[in-house]
Amino acid sequence: MKRKLLTGNAAAAWGARLANVDYVPAFPITPQTEIIETLAGWFDEGALKGRFVTLDSEHSMVTAAASAAVTGVRVFSATSSQGLLYASEMLYAVSGYRVPWVLVNVSRGLSSPVTLEADHNDIFALRDSGFLQLHASTCQEALDMVLMAYQIAEDVRVRLPVIVNIDGFYLSFTREPVEIPDENKAREFIGEFDAHNISFRANVPLSHASAVLQGSIYSYFRYEHHLAAIQAISVFNESAEKFEKMFNRSYALIESYMADGADYVFIMIGSFATKAKEAVDMLREAGSLTGLLRLRMFRPFPEEEMKKLLKGKKAAAVIDQNLAPGKGGVIYTETAAALCNEKEAPFLISYIGGLGGRDITAEEFYEIEKEMRKAAETKKPPMARLLFSEAELEAVRKLQGIAGVEKKNEQRKN
């Protein structure tokens, strides 16, 4: 084990290296590119044995990744944003191949307008793809989640591919101290790749991903897929237990920070949760019983765990770093669905913030805490909020002035 300053990208690449991956099909995209550059270098210098190949697109990259997994090797790949969506046809298709492999997505807001900074609309667009989803909030977790992802994906009860999500810029390009596990221990943790009964070999015919022409057989395979995904909850817990024993870091499905005994909680995902932690510390100091719940696993959705952790809370604020236009926040919707039959469920308030890398300030967390308290007192939660400050609006107006928006509107009127 050694401690090193690593970016989230480098940490994710280290995860793949320690998993001793055989094959990395790749395609560059900001802010992910450092991951594949790092891996390409390791293949070149012989630190990794196998093959690195750049495909013509993410669509091809995901096809190559899954096909190699069907042939019986351990596969890693990485993408981001538009790349993830360009590959989305294949992400849905290959999760049904029922072969394990790991894809890192470095979250970045989607077009339009085109941007480079983080939010979660990319990864949540793939929430129903059949891939499992683990979300990191630190560079250490980026590495550790990749390792755990292999163990979960390759478990015979699961046999599904996993996406590990890290936030663009906030994690991808931010250096943090990361403990790099010992190579032999990491290999012991993951074990040898076992293709089980799926592989292409001479004289062992296999027809894979064949067409079906009837709803019953289609439904059967889809239900199997769903049930296997659900299994990943207990498999994650087992894997986390093993991980803690070997590496002394403990990971729960939902990270609970000062939430035990709290009346109010923020519910978040990804790196911005570290901002919430700071706000929680300040609020606690000021005497508010506020905590944080941070989803580490999003698929399968840890519904029972969420219900348990929210039981008896007075109010919860779901801060979604994504926006489903015409609906609102994705995590809010899913959390509300989990709570709908609970007797002691808290009031749930929806906030949208952090789109395209927009900061969420400490003041905003304090304001949210106030609204939670008010909702509990008045028994009336406010409407969903879109976080935006007056100062920001002013700055936007200035940019619009340069873009000549007013002038164009005038011209149109005339």
Binding site: G50, S60, A68, T71, G72, A202, P205, A211
Partner: protein, 309 residues
């Protein structure tokens, strides 16, 4: 003096293996020209092949839980079959290098795609695979339209052909894309056009491709009774006419050169090929469209004039 041993064993019709490796009873239409070619191709490639399929008619060969293949099969998508070939080839190579499987477990990787995929949305993935000199065979069964969805025009549809999306009296207004030339421009190991109605030419070319390393194209014109509208017992006849009229040149690309393997010395008029297909009926009925027929004939004449045979 002993003659130099050639890898190619097929010289005459009687050298062609006739094992019928591909089982019958598939969902393909009666008289399918693509299936006609595939039967012959499979006998030469043998069962240790993994077919990587792009969305198209042939996707319905393997419908759970049945398959006509003695070897393996992977369905992918319409656009990315060559990328799957890359993944499988790389994985097999890695496994052999790392001694996790034996060399005898190796398989030949074969893409099986229609013209909709090959001429259109699969072209980016194919181009990249050729550029990487991927060791695979790419079979394109070209029935000159989106056949599986009811024959809408594709990039492979010939001039003036009537399809379900070009129903006017003049048919399809553009010209067939020259995918063979596009492949050849990539300088692949090998590219060849074939047709099911010429088994010896087909067998020689498939055998050649099988024995080569690198990217190899087998482009099969595939007369389609339902899409082109002709009786299912005329597939062979139409295939032969496609060659005899010069509409479908049988050729191969290797070592930077294009060689015609069959040169129709006295080309039959294109009319003979056109008039027996429903998709060209509008060129003859209710009135004969001399202008369009001449346009098609001119294109063919220009082609063979260009190659100066």
């Amino acid at each position: 003096m002993k003659r130099k041993m050639s890898k190619e064993k097929i010289k005459k019709m009687r050298d062609i293996p006739f094992e019928r490796l591909l089982a019958s009873g598939t969902a393909m239409c009666a008289g399918c020209g693509a299936l006609e070619a595939l039967h012959q191709i499979y006998d030469i490639l043998g069962k240790n092949t993994v077919f990587v399929n792009a969305a198209g008619c042939m996707t319905l060969l393997s419908v759970y839980p049945f398959t006509p293949f003695r070897g393996s099969w992977l369905y992918t998508s319409m656009a990315s079959a060559p990328a799957a070939a890359q993944g499988i080839r790389d994985a097999l190579d890695i496994l052999i290098e790392k001694k996790r499987i034996k060399p005898k477990d190796n398989m030949q990787v074969v893409v099986l795609a229609g013209d909709g995929s090959s001429y259109g949305m699969g072209l980016s993935a194919a181009s990249a695979a050729i550029e990487r000199n991927l060791d695979f065979i790419y079979i394109c069964y070209d029935n000159e339209g989106y056949g599986n969805t009811g024959q809408q025009y594709s990039d492979a549809t010939p001039h003036a052909a009537r399809t379900s999306t070009s129903k006017s009296l003049t048919g399809f207004q553009y010209y067939k894309k020259d995918i063979f030339a596009i492949w050849a421009a990539h300088k692949p190991a090998y590219a060849a056009t074939i047709i099911g109605s010429d088994p010896l030419d087909l067998a020689k070319k498939v055998e050649k491709a099988k024995n080569m390393k690198g990217a190899k194209l087998i482009l099969a014109l595939s007369p389609c009774p339902t899409g082109w509208t002709f009786h299912s017992n005329e597939t062979v006849k139409i295939g032969k006419l496609a060659v005899e009229t010069g509409i479908w040149p049988l050729k191969e690309y290797a070592d930077g050169k294009i060689v015609h393997t069959k040169i129709p010395r006295e080309r039959k008029p294109v009319e003979e090929y056109l008039k027996i297909q429903g998709r060209f009926k509008h060129l003859f009925e209710p009135q004969r469209n001399d202008k369009l027929i001449a346009e098609i004939q001119n294109e063919v004449d220009k082609y063979w004039g260009h190659y100066n045979h």
